[in-house]
């Protein structure tokens, strides 16, 4: 499947990492010799050569814009600047409908090791059919933020879990069951969101994903290697550690 554009969502305030994000957008948090955003852009350029890269920025956007100018002019990503963040659902829907091609959407707080990224990128690139694809990983029910219902590798629906819904007793064996959860990567086939009307401030999950799932197949792509959604200090430190020790499959441009 040919990816025409990659959209990296980096507009949020990163309130769950407030101690680090008062003066720095979450996507610019350092990861050793790189940072979260630079890592995602470099990986996207490596594995989706030819796709245009777009970075959605709002909170401390000037810092993200400055960071983007470090990329060579011939591979420099576009900035989608929002004075006030419109929410992932709006930004993604607008981009998909304006660009018209197949779009890979990445949450800007994701960390993937090179191996993880290369595996799902190769899988996406080699798929013959044009279908929307949701990258998912297995999580324990009591830790999952989203739960995916699937049938024969096709996503049927996704439901979100708010923190207060999480079971209190995590030792309960019922809650240790593994479920599929979203990994923050979605490939949206061209024209899939033409009839979708997003609400301002809405996330990608559940409504965008459920809209696509109601109208066409979303292939469930299994993420079996290291990936981290950086939404707490613990997960940030974990990402730093994995980045330090994981094998680098290519040189970063800077």
């Amino acid at each position: 499947m040919k990816i025409d554009s990659v959209l990296i969502l980096a507009a949020g305030r990163g309130t769950r990492l407030k101690q680090y994000t008062d003066n720095l957008p979450k996507s610019l948090l350092p990861l050793g010799d790189t940072n979260i955003l630079r890592n995602l852009i470099a990986q996207s350029q490596k594995y989706f050569a030819g796709a245009k890269i777009y970075v959605n920025a709002s909170y401390l956007a000037e810092k993200i814009i400055n960071e983007i100018t470090n990329f060579p002019i011939n591979t420099r990503p576009f900035i989608i600047w929002e004075r006030n963040p419109l929410g992932p659902a709006f930004t993604v829907t607008h981009h998909c409908n304006e660009s018209g091609g197949n779009v890979l959407v990445l949450h800007g707080d994701n960390y993937f090791s090179d191996l993880t990224y290369s595996k799902f990128a190769n899988s996406i690139n080699q798929k013959i059919q044009d279908v929307s694809i949701l990258l998912c990983h297995k999580r324990y029910l009591d830790c999952a933020r989203s739960i995916i219902s699937e049938e024969k590798g096709i996503v049927k629906s996704i439901s979100e879990i708010v923190v207060s819904d999480l079971p209190k007793n995590s030792n309960d064996s019922n809650h240790r069951e593994l479920v599929w959860s979203s990994s923050g990567v979605l490939v949206i086939k061209s024209n899939s969101l033409l009839n979708f009307i997003p609400d301002k401030g809405e996330g990608l999950s559940p409504n965008v994903i459920n809209h696509i799932a109601r109208n066409e197949d979303i292939h469930l792509e299994k993420c079996t290697e290291a990936r981290i959604s950086i939404d707490s200090e613990k997960s940030y430190f974990e990402a730093i550690e994995i980045h330090k020790t994981s094998q680098k499959l290519f040189n970063r441009p800077f």
Binding site: E62, I73, I80, W81, T91
Partner: protein
């Protein structure tokens, strides 16, 4: 008419692009910088590509200088750049909605981010906006270019780049552009565009 044969243009802001943005009146000492910077821009391409300056100039609106004198100076400056073959035309908005000068106090259609200046040049030369470029140093330049349908938008980074003005509409929900460190980077981008 094929895309290659359509008439295109590079629209250039003045303050912060042709010369450093030192606030209203920067134009008065801008010429030598403009000549140097405009020489950076390539003059290649088989089809015609106009270079047009589009600029808000509020120095006279703030009563810092006599309007007619300022207009005379501005015209003379840009005409000299035309004579040097560095630009092809220019369009200036002298208005400001809260100008001290009553004659220039106007909520006009030409003050950026509104697209009046660009639209007038698109009509004058039958320029195809989807084949054209804009280089600015403020998000209001980008908004103006987007409103006129310009496809390739470049923003030179600086501390004031995301400031909006009273003409920015609440409808400007998003703006899409490529950030540049300086005008020289556009020349590098242009080579890539021209080769393709």
């Amino acid at each position: 008419m094929s895309a290659k044969n359509k008439i295109s243009a590079i629209f250039l802001d003045a303050d912060g692009v042709l010369w450093d943005d030192i606030g209203p009146g920067g134009i008065l000492s801008g010429k030598k910088h403009a000549v140097r910077n405009l020489k950076l821009l390539p003059s290649v391409r088989k089809t015609k590509c106009y270079k047009i300056v589009v600029s808000n100039q509020t120095f006279a609106a703030r009563r810092k200088i006599n309007y007619l004198r300022f207009k005379f100076f501005t015209n003379a400056l840009f005409n000299s750049l035309i004579k040097l073959n560095l630009i092809d035309d220019f369009a200036i908005c002298y208005h400001h909605p809260s100008a001290d000068h009553f004659f220039l106090r106007k909520k006009c259609e030409c003050r950026k981010p509104l697209p009046g200046l660009i639209n007038s040049m698109l009509r004058k030369y039958s320029i195809a906006p989807q084949e054209s470029f804009l280089i600015g140093d403020r998000i209001t330049d980008i908004q103006s270019g987007e409103a006129a349908g310009i496809k390739h938008l470049y923003l030179i980074i600086n501390p004031k780049m995301l400031e909006i003005n009273e003409n920015s509409s609440s409808q400007d929900l998003q703006n899409i552009f490529i950030p540049l460190k300086d005008l020289n980077e556009f020349s590098l981008a242009w080579k890539i565009i021209d080769e393709n």
